[in-house]
């Protein structure tokens, strides 16, 4: 199983762009990269998922280099409500994984006014 490494915490200010990088050196060919957001005492919430290159949705962008050994979650113009823990996961929808995900310790993002 591919292990992920993320910074333990990051600080930012409202209105800034935040980039959180995740390292996954032994990612498998069939693995996807998925990011979840979690607020205290709530379940994680899906943010974005990708396999390679760049993926963008209404809340974030995900950049994946050609070797797929790392990925960067980009949050544009963060607000105080983006203060949360962000998890990078590797794995997902292939035959023998049956969609079970392995979470690391996550990155605690603290957005300041």
């Amino acid at each position: 199983l591919a292990k992920t490494t993320q910074p333990i915490s990051m600080d930012s200010y409202e209105g800034q762009e935040v980039n959180i990088t995740c390292s996954h050196n032994n990612i498998a060919t069939n693995d996807y990269i998925t990011w979840y957001q979690q607020f205290p005492s709530q379940g994680p919430r899906f943010i974005i998922q990708g396999y390679k290159t760049k993926v963008t949705n209404e809340v974030a962008s995900l950049f994946i280099p050609a070797d797929r050994k790392s990925s960067t979650l980009s949050l544009p113009r963060v607000s105080l409500s983006d203060t949360a823990v962000y998890y990078c996961l590797v794995g997902g929808p292939h035959l023998y994984n049956f969609n079970k995900f392995y979470f690391g310790s996550g990155t605690k993002l603290n957005v300041k006014p």
Binding site: Y32, G43, F46, V85, Y87, H94, F98, S105
Partner: protein
């Protein structure tokens, strides 16, 4: 539309007791997974069920068991509770077994005293 619902929201049990946690997936979702989240850590995968069969199991002792019913709801059972079982128990559902996006419930906060 209702999201993933879990019951109860909070629970206090004594060491050695048994507990049953319940999860109702999003309507139409056939896959249910269970996770344990200890304070300050990321969620740890316990089980995944799809079409009423166990499809994956994490590194948890046999005291942990689960099942999925014909309506796709699920129960997580934990026997002989230990203090270390105190955690937030999360249920996640997805449409298909290979679906990449999992929707999490709010969790059940279990405290073992």
């Amino acid at each position: 539309d209702a999201g993933v619902t879990q019951s109860p929201t909070h629970l206090i049990k004594t060491r050695g007791q048994h507990v049953t946690l319940r999860c109702s997936p999003i309507s139409g979702h056939k896959s249910v997974s269970w996770y344990q989240q200890v304070l300050g850590q990321g969620p740890q995968f316990i089980f995944q069920y799809y079409e009423k069969e166990e499809r994956g199991r994490g590194n948890f002792p046999d005291r942990f068991s689960a099942r999925q019913f014909p309506n796709y709801s699920s129960e997580l059972n934990v026997n002989a509770l230990l203090l270390g079982d105190s955690a937030l128990y999360l249920c996640a559902s997805s449409f298909e077994r290979l679906n990449t996006e999992a929707f999490f419930g709010q969790g059940t906060r279990l405290t073992v005293v």
